[in-house]
């Protein structure tokens, strides 16, 4: 009984997912699937509430030490539930209500969320793996959901093949870590390495960690493991992209945080530089790649690579502040990216027909509200102050600078300067006069779910930018749980943080 409370949000999501499936089966073909969406929304809300409620629970593990509920996992639970909620709303607006299989899509989103949540709270790599697979497989399916177009299945197959390829690496990594330590539990791994110094660390662990980083790097689309991202995002249905560019990534980052900070902090001398390079390459490749994109979705795909890079910067700080910054960044990125994809979904029409930058010309003249919101999200993505995007970046780089990562900070912020170019191109296109020859983007009146979704994400983005105090506090608490346990397991590593050769 007590244990099941530790997975209460997951249970709720599963129940609602099954409800959606059952209800779907009872509905006649061609009927509007909207009620299913609202059921799913209820489920997401329930999960959100349940996750928030979990703060009441004493931090600890359940199910024989397989899941751990602490400030860290709850933080990500809430985030994932929120993303799913907003994405569901977006989907309700952007997909034709009578679309076949819409009910399955809603159910998949809920089930996928279960996997992601489990990833964040799992302290057993097996459960991490299963959660990862749940989240991955559900997103593979979602990517291929719009079967009428040629792009969507291609997107799905690319995602699927490359994703499985990366999963194999991740799994190999777990196997090697298991080989090195004889366990797949985070705490036990940390304990196994606790006594070891650089000299007697089993070398397998490095290879294992590298494999894990490769696998998770793929999932978070960190360059150079990002190659799938643009193609998949371009082809996948927009509402789904909003979800899969944020929630699974957040979960994967949470896993990476757990593994690096909780399981393997003692190896920081090896993994910090690797992540340093991943961060730099991600930021640079992502932003440069986005520069020439004419398709907004593809551009946002490159941008998500860059944002993964910014988030990785926080890792290199190797401090509680860094973890808090990474967590916070995940929230801000989610808020603005889900928001922007909500509008992309709506503006693109049911079939994502209009996704070129030029299609967005003059959106402000047809739908000022949407254009304004989109501009706001883009501005946040650029990192203009008083938006979440800025504060996230600011916090990340503050953490990095605290750790003495001056070059990383400079590279990162110059990158954010480059990034301004392509975001702004879209933002300004919104306000430019529409080209006369261009097909006019017939924007439907935004529906209630879209308004809700945009409102939620925009409000979140704004709040994160202006009064981030609460979220910051939660992020810091989350970071505390990771690093405190890390200090318990590897006290000398924490002490070593000051004499890193990187300084």
């Amino acid at each position: 009984m007590n244990s099941s409370l530790y997975i209460l949000p997951e249970i709720l999501l599963t129940i609602f997912g099954i409800l959606v499936m059952l209800a779907d089966a009872t509905m006649p073909r061609g009927a509007s699937r909207k009620p299913l969406g609202w059921i799913a929304v209820l489920g997401a809300l329930g999960a959100l509430a349940a996750s928030s409620w979990q703060y009441q629970l004493p931090a600890g593990t359940a199910y024989f030490g397989v899941v751990r509920i602490d400030a860290f996992s709850i933080f990500f639970h809430i985030l994932i539930a929120g993303i799913v909620l907003a994405s569901l709303l977006t989907t309700l607006d952007a997909v034709r209500p009578e679309t076949e299989g819409l009910g399955e899509l809603f159910a998949l989103m809920l089930f996928g969320a279960v996997g992601m949540m489990l990833m964040t709270s799992a302290v057993e790599l097996l459960l991490v793996f299963i959660g990862l697979e749940i989240s991955s497989i559900s997103t593979y399916i979602m990517a291929g959901f719009r079967r009428k177009s040629a792009k969507s299945p291609e997107s799905a197959i690319k995602y699927f093949l490359l994703g499985s390829f990366a999963t194999a690496f991740f799994l190999y990594g777990i196997a090697l870590v298991f080989g090195a330590t004889g366990t797949t539990r985070i705490a036990d791994i940390a304990a196994a390495l606790a006594g070891s110094t650089a000299a007697n660390v089993p070398p397998l662990i490095y290879v294992g960690l590298a494999m894990i980083v490769i696998g998770l790097g793929f999932k978070v689309s960190a360059a150079p493991f990002h190659v799938w991202t643009p193609d998949v995002y371009e082809g996948a249905p927009s509402p789904v992209v909003g979800l899969m560019s944020t929630a699974p990534k957040a979960a994967a980052f949470a896993v990476l945080l757990r593994i690096t900070f909780e399981a393997l902090p003692s190896l920081h001398v090896h993994w910090v530089p690797v992540l340093w390079w991943l961060a730099v390459i991600s930021m640079t490749l992502g932003n440069l790649g986005a520069l020439r994109q004419r398709n907004v979705k593809r551009m946002l795909a490159y941008s998500s690579i860059a944002h993964a890079g910014y988030l990785l910067v926080a890792f290199t700080a190797l401090s509680a502040e860094g973890v808090a910054a990474a967590s916070f960044y995940a929230v801000t990125y989610a808020a603005m990216n889900v928001g922007v994809f909500a509008i992309v979904s709506h503006a693109g029409g049911y079939d994502d027909r209009l996704t070129l930058v030029d299609d967005y010309r003059g959106l402000a003249y047809r739908s000022p509200l949407l254009a304004g919101a989109m501009a706001f999200f883009l501005i946040s993505l650029i990192g203009i102050p008083f938006t979440g995007g800025f504060f996230g970046k600011f916090y990340v780089f503050t953490a990095a600078l605290h750790a003495g990562m001056i070059w990383l900070t400079i590279i990162g912020l110059i990158n954010s300067g480059i990034a301004a170019f392509y975001y702004l191109r879209v933002a300004l296109a919104l306000f430019a006069r529409p080209a006369e020859a261009a097909p006019v983007m017939a924007v439907e009146r935004p529906s209630l779910p879209l308004l809700l979704s945009v409102f939620l994400t925009a409000a979140a983005t704004l709040i994160l930018g202006i009064v981030p105090g609460n979220v910051l506090g939660a992020a810091r608490a989350a970071a505390q749980t990771l690093t405190v346990s890390h200090q318990q397991s590897a006290p000398e590593a924490a002490g070593a943080a000051t004499d890193l050769s990187l300084r």
């Binding site: 197959i157 690319k158 093949l161 490359l162 390829f165 990366a166 690496f169 070398p203 490095y206 290879v207 960690l209 590298a210 494999m211 980083v213 490769i214 790097g217 793929f218 150079p224 493991f225 190659v227 799938w228 643009p230 193609d231 001398v269 090896h270 993994w271 910090v272 530089p273 690797v274 340093w276 390079w277 991943l278 490749l285 440069l288 790649g289 986005a290 520069l291 020439r292 994109q293 001056i406 070059w407 480059i418 170019f421 050769s501 990187l502 300084r503």
Partner: protein
């Protein structure tokens, strides 16, 4: 000194006139505009008259602080006015001549569309000119200095629809700005050394330090000279003045003859304390003056536009004033300034009357025989011509002779200066009588105009009115009395004006010089020593002279010099008579035989063209092509673009990774997986991190 003179009111009244006419004049009826303008000129004149009456009772200089203008750190500049002899003389000239010309303009400009505008500008000019002469510090003087330039700009460009007028106005302003640049630098130097710009503070500092000779004072003086050459149309910045004749004739009379252009002379006299310490600068002033005088006179000999002749004559006469100042005979310079104001204003006004009579004709070749038709104009003009040519006992004779005499007795090349000045006097006489003959004698060459064949164009030929209407002409006629009275008054002044400075050498007392002496005499008189010290040097060491106190033994010299110059003036007259009255075919023959020389003079030594080629064209070329095109468009815009394209190029490279092929992606992933593995295992990554 207890009395409050309200000096600040003197400039402020015309300013009020400017405001009223400028803001409301467009809609106001013409008599109201006239009244406002005339009151704006009259009240200052009355105030000055009152000052004249009170003057002896004042302790001098009388200084009045009205308020702080600029206060920054320890530096401050005030709205402060001062009154001394020099100021008083200038005030009289400015308000007196100014009022007369205002009066004249009422008739002259009666037909004009921009009547209100004209008078607003005229009042504005008076405001700035009075500020200039009343200022107690350099900065306030600079206000007037720039302000009169502004008024000049506006009035030259009065017929703004005419490109030549607009160009002339612009040219005047810009050339003046070059001079102002010098003035500014002089002020910067003064601030750097004295921390103040107050005349009295600076001059008393200088007085306290007899050891200060040359050095930075020379620099200050030379920069001031640069300013003065701009405002007073001296070499090398005289080029704007002839073009300034595009303005209405009263403007030429007031601004470009009587008052504004003399501001440079006034400024040198005002700052003589600085010049006195810099023989070199004085030398420069003298040389510039005499060179300009000669140079402009030669050009004046061959001009055919009546106003241009007068313009070059003005430049030439200003050269005399510079010469006077340059030999430290400041009072002589100022004296010539005063007399010149009378007769040159008269010349211009009379010329205006002629032009008026001929419905706008300015070309002397189309004049002639006007003696009978416009007698008042003729006789007043005759007085002026005689005065400027230097016939005793007219005003011009007295003042010019004073300068020539002072030059003659100056050491170190003073004789050369005198000789050139004398030659110039002859030339002056020649071209003035040439003008006289061509305008008033001989056959009337303007017959065509009278027959209405449109050869002559009305003075306002380009003004807006005429644009729509046919150019209208009317018979030659005398001007209305409102124009003639100022002529008559000025003619009288031209005749008798010189008597107040009748030289001692000719039996006078040189009252003017003595009156002015307190204002322009050096506080310390290091002249003797300086002269001795400087005698060793050549021209570079300057030509200095004790200003006012001519050695009594030189009375004979003065007399002889006066005779010589009178003879020279007569010679000039004779030559003019010969060429333009007796044998009218002679000028063409001479021109033909001296072809090159004639062309040079006719084209004003091509100075405008040379400036155009050496300064204007290169500056424009640099602005347009080197800076505008090459640097701004090329390097700066191009650099921005290049950075942009480079980034985009990298972007294209990054996108090249995205071939769309799954196997390629897998290949990419594999390669980097291997690299990441190796990096992690061997800890390579750390090595490539910049720190």
């Amino acid at each position: 000194m207890t009395t409050d003179l309200h000096l600040w009111l003197i400039p402020l009244v015309p300013f009020a006139g400017f405001l009223v006419n400028g803001l409301l004049g467009r809609k106001a009826p013409k008599p109201v505009v006239t009244a406002v303008a005339l009151i704006g000129a009259l009240i200052p004149m009355l105030q000055v008259s009152a000052l004249v009456l009170k003057f002896d009772s004042l302790s001098k200089p009388y200084i009045q602080h009205v308020g702080t203008w600029i206060q920054a750190g320890s530096f401050h500049a005030d709205f402060a006015f001062q009154l001394d002899q020099l100021t008083l003389v200038m005030l009289c000239v400015v308000t007196g001549v100014g009022f007369l010309i205002h009066l004249y303009s009422v008739g002259y400009m009666a037909e004009e569309d921009g009547y209100w505008r004209f008078f607003a500008y005229m009042n504005l000019f008076l405001f700035f000119m009075l500020t200039l002469v009343l200022a107690e510090n350099f900065l306030l003087m600079f206000v007037g200095w720039e302000g009169v330039g502004l008024a000049s700009y506006l009035l030259i460009g009065f017929y703004y629809t005419r490109d030549s007028a607009a160009n002339a106005g612009k040219k005047a302003f810009i050339v003046n700005r070059i001079g102002d640049f010098g003035f500014l630098l002089a002020m910067f130097l003064l601030i750097a050394h004295f921390g103040t710009l107050s005349f009295n503070d600076i001059f008393s500092q200088i007085a306290l330090h007899p050891a200060w000779q040359g050095g930075f004072l020379t620099a200050v003086a030379l920069f001031l000279v640069l300013g003065a050459t701009g405002k007073s149309a001296q070499i090398p910045l005289y080029v704007w003045l002839p073009d300034a004749m595009e303005g209405p004739t009263p403007v030429s009379a007031l601004i470009h003859a009587a008052t504004m252009v003399t501001a440079g002379v006034y400024m040198i006299a005002r700052t003589h304390a600085i010049f006195d310490r810099s023989p070199f600068a004085l030398g420069v002033v003298a040389i510039i003056g005499v060179a300009t005088a000669f140079f402009a006179a030669t050009i004046g000999m061959v001009q055919t536009d009546i106003k241009r002749v007068l313009a070059y004559s003005t430049v030439s006469q200003l050269g005399y004033m510079f010469l006077g100042c340059g030999v430290a005979a400041y009072s002589a310079g100022i004296f010539h300034l005063v007399t010149h104001a009378f007769f040159k204003a008269l010349l211009f006004l009379a010329a205006g009357s002629v032009i008026h009579a001929l419905s706008g004709q300015q070309d002397m070749r189309a004049m002639g025989g006007l003696r009978k038709k416009i007698p008042v104009t003729f006789w007043t003009m005759t007085a002026a011509v005689l005065a400027i040519s230097g016939f005793p006992p007219l005003a011009g004779f007295v003042s010019k002779d004073e300068i020539l005499y002072q030059a003659f007795i100056a050491p170190n090349g003073g004789k050369i200066l005198w000789a050139v000045g004398l030659l110039t006097a002859g030339l002056t006489s020649f071209y003035m009588f040439r003008l006289w003959y061509m305008t008033f004698f001989g056959e009337s060459r303007s017959a065509a105009a009278q027959e209405g064949e449109a050869a002559a164009v009305h003075a306002r030929h380009d003004s807006k009115l005429v644009l729509e209407a046919e150019p209208h002409t009317h018979p030659v006629h005398e001007s209305p009395w409102v124009m003639l009275w100022p002529l008559i008054i000025l003619a009288i002044l031209s005749v008798v004006g010189g008597w107040m400075g009748w030289p001692a050498g000719l039996g006078g007392s040189n009252w003017f010089s003595h009156f002015l002496a307190p204002a322009v005499q050096s506080v310390h008189l290091p002249y003797e020593q300086a002269t001795v010290a400087l005698n060793t040097g050549a021209l570079a060491n300057g030509i200095v002279n004790t200003p006012n106190a001519a050695p009594s033994g030189d009375k004979q010299i003065e007399l002889i010099l006066a005779l010589i110059s009178t003879l020279v003036a007569l010679a000039g007259w004779f030559a003019a008579h010969l060429m333009y009255c007796a044998r009218p075919e002679l000028p063409e023959r001479i021109a033909a035989s001296l072809h090159a020389g004639y062309a040079t003079l006719k084209n004003k030594y091509w100075v405008d063209e040379i400036y155009g080629a050496l300064i204007v064209a290169p500056v424009l070329f640099m602005a347009r092509w080197i800076l505008g095109a090459l640097i701004d468009r090329g390097v700066i815009d191009g650099g921005t673009l290049a950075v942009g394209y480079t980034a985009q190029g990298f972007g294209a490279l990054v996108a090249r990774i995205q071939s769309g092929n799954i196997r390629s992606y897998a290949g990419w992933l594999t390669l980097f997986a291997a690299l990441a593995l190796a990096a992690m295992y061997f800890g390579w990554a750390a090595r490539f991190i910049p720190r």
